[in-house]
């Protein structure tokens, strides 16, 4: 049995998502006005990354169970 790629992939995207969300909370709102049309994209897109990572992790666990 080989390594299921969804396990490391899920972990990676989950961690990246958490980093983005955390940074979204602590970062200066001015950077969002300057770049992303005033939207806190780190918070939003971090959540999407984490969600994707979570789904991948779930799929990898489900298969091995």
């Amino acid at each position: 049995m080989q390594l299921d790629i969804r396990l490391p992939m899920g972990l990676l995207f989950l961690i990246l998502g958490i980093i983005l969300v955390a940074y979204g909370f602590v970062s200066d709102p001015a950077i969002y006005t300057a770049h992303s049309l005033g939207q806190n994209v780190n918070l939003l897109w971090g959540a999407i990354f984490a969600l994707f990572g979570g789904v991948m992790l779930y799929l990898s666990r489900k298969k091995s169970a």
Binding site: P8, M9, N42, F49
Partner: protein, 586 residues
């Protein structure tokens, strides 16, 4: 900034477009830990040479498909397609809808049964089984040189880009990127490369989507984009050409690509596209790693689904950039201006990242870009070490090599391949012309290639001599064609063409290369045809079983296969969807 305290490898050298924050570095570092970690984890599965070079033929179709598409979705593609999106508009999607999808469907449905079913370990090995040793060696040699060369070009482009936008040291980038690729291929072989292509695929998709969304919001949605592109196209003297893919293809002077529909469909859509997707071992290797015949056939078909949607991800940012650039003012986008007074189209992606991505997301965008450069290198290196080890080393130097010895050779080849790539990267930095020249020569060798596969797989009478000399005739035809034609506005030279006399002018160099491909293919096709008829068949029908269409039992789906897993059904669906896209964006 504590510039002096940084190690010399990363010393800042020039004015920079982007500054990274600690969070961006954290994201980059996290990714590289995972990349190396994956190689390290799967190294214990590398027991036989088949594990190392062919992933033990064990991977599910979806992983092979994402590897198939990921190996092709290098950073040059991401940056180049955005640049073309800015230069040519929606018509750039021809490189996907005409220039990829039909060939991907063809290879999955018609050709994969022979590649996978023949038990050949590489594309050159298929040529040996079907034709003879000389055809195989010719193909293996040109392919091996081409792959290390391409890997060097990726390395060069990565280092040059990071140097330009971040001010990182050129040598440092070459060293670090080759070390990372070395570690994960050395440990995990093809599986490692494919797994990283899958990671990179999702990183590019999820990392670039916000760029498109933010750009669209900024310009006022699709309608705003079209309005601005139309206004821009008027200033270029081709009203409407940026917002339609077919309407301006009647004549080469009516569209910015400089090509008419026939050259586009026959040159790009047939010869070049089929030549790449159906014969290039770099992509075929991914499908051959699949666990069974059905998965191998579905690999390019599943890959075609994201492929047909990629224009939204890689071409749209370029179209947005040029529309925003045209809009100008504070709401617009400032693109660096190149030496010729036009915007520097190659900087479209970095400029968009700098404008729309705040720190955090910026780290993701940059990671995605670096990941795709490195998987571009890794893809070439894995194809190179397989072809070198099986088709050249084992055949010519050590036919009795043990399996364990072959893995060792594969690993050493990985190191050597990366070293040669690095030399190529420096050569590219120093002698721009030599690289262009090499690329031109590869163009001559590659253009006719599809003809011998087509005849080999579908005409049992094609012979080894026919294929080999047909290939030579096709290559010479390409060179002669190039020597007699020239793009408008260029002076005759070895590189641009016309060195034998200018007998035909083309509206663009792209049109010249599409037509060159058409001629090279025809030359090779006719050459192979006539020489085959004039020579004795060198393979018996028995030897050709499994290699030629008429002598091979048709690949049948198992009775229990659901409709969505049947290659023929998938193929029809993919082609229909592509047709619909062409009609919508005509």
């Amino acid at each position: 900034m504590h510039v002096l305290s940084l190690p010399p490898l990363f010393a800042v050298t020039s004015t920079v477009l982007l500054e990274l924050a600690p969070v961006d570095y954290l994201i980059l570092a996290t990714y590289f830990v995972f990349v190396i970690g994956i190689g390290w984890t799967i190294r214990r599965y590398m027991k036989t040479s088949s594990d190392f070079f062919e992933s033990g033929r064990s991977l599910p179709a979806w992983i092979c498909a994402l590897g198939f598409i990921g190996a092709n979705l290098g950073a040059q593609e991401v940056m180049g397609m955005a640049a073309s999106g800015a230069k040519y508009g929606i018509a750039t999607s021809h490189f996907y809808w005409i220039g990829a999808i039909p060939a991907m469907v063809f290879v999955g449905i018609f050709m994969m049964p022979f590649y996978y079913g023949s038990k050949a370990r590489s594309v050159p090995e298929y040529l040996k089984l079907r034709f003879d040793e000389k055809t195989r060696t010719f193909n293996a040699l040109s392919f091996a040189v081409m792959t290390v060369f391409s890997s060097g070009i990726s390395m060069f482009a990565l280092a040059k880009l990071l140097n330009a936008i971040l001010g990182w040291n050129f040598d440092g980038c070459i060293l670090v990127s080759s070390l990372i690729v070395l570690v994960y291929i050395y440990t995990g072989g093809l599986t490692s490369a494919i797994y990283n292509e899958v990671l990179q695929f999702f990183l590019i998709v999820l990392g670039f989507l916000p760029l498109v969304i933010l750009g669209l919001q900024d310009i006022g949605g699709w309608h705003g984009l079209m309005t601005n592109l139309d206004a821009y196209s008027v200033t270029k003297g081709m009203p409407g050409a940026w917002s339609s893919s077919w309407a301006h293809m009647g004549s080469p002077v009516a569209n910015p690509i400089g090509i008419e529909w026939f050259g586009l469909v026959a040159g790009l859509g047939f010869v070049l596209s089929f030549g790449y997707w159906c014969t290039d071992f770099l992509v075929i290797q991914r499908a051959m790693a699949a666990k069974d015949m059905n998965s191998a056939r579905r690999t390019p078909l599943i890959a075609a689904i994201p492929k047909m949607l990629f224009p939204a991800l890689v071409i749209l940012p370029g179209m947005l950039a040029i529309a925003l650039y045209h809009k100008g003012g504070t709401a617009g986008l400032a693109l660096p201006i190149g030496a010729d007074g036009n915007p520097d189209y190659n900087m479209v992606v970095p400029a968009m990242l700098a404008k729309y991505f705040p720190h955090g997301l910026l780290g993701i965008g940059l990671t995605a870009l670096m990941a795709s450069f490195m998987s571009g290198m890794a893809g070439n290196v894995t194809a190179f070490n397989t072809v070198w080890t099986y088709d050249l080393y084992q055949r010519w130097f050590n036919p009795d090599a043990s399996d364990a010895h072959l893995i060792k050779v594969g690993r050493v080849t990985t190191v050597v391949g990366l070293l040669i790539s690095a030399v190529c990267a420096y050569a590219a930095a120093k002698f721009n012309n030599i690289m262009d020249m090499l690329q031109l020569v590869f163009g001559f060798v590659n253009a006719p290639l599809f003809a011998i596969f087509l005849l080999g797989m579908f005409w049992r009478r094609a012979t080894g001599h026919g294929a080999f000399f047909g290939l030579l005739i096709g290559t010479v035809t390409a060179a002669i064609f190039q020597g007699n034609t020239l793009p408008v506005g260029e002076t005759a030279s070895l590189l641009k063409g016309g060195w034998m006399g200018v007998h035909q002018l083309f509206a663009s160099s792209m049109a010249q290369s599409f037509w060159m491909a058409i001629f090279a293919f025809s030359g090779c096709f006719l050459g192979t045809l006539f020489i085959s008829l004039a020579t004795k068949p060198n393979r018996t029908d028995d030897e050709l079983r499994g290699l030629v269409y008429s002598l091979t039992e048709k690949a049948k789906d198992d009775a229990g296969t659901p409709w969505y897993a049947r290659p023929a059904v998938l193929g029809v669906l993919v082609l229909s969807a592509t047709l619909v896209l062409n009609i919508i964006f005509r």
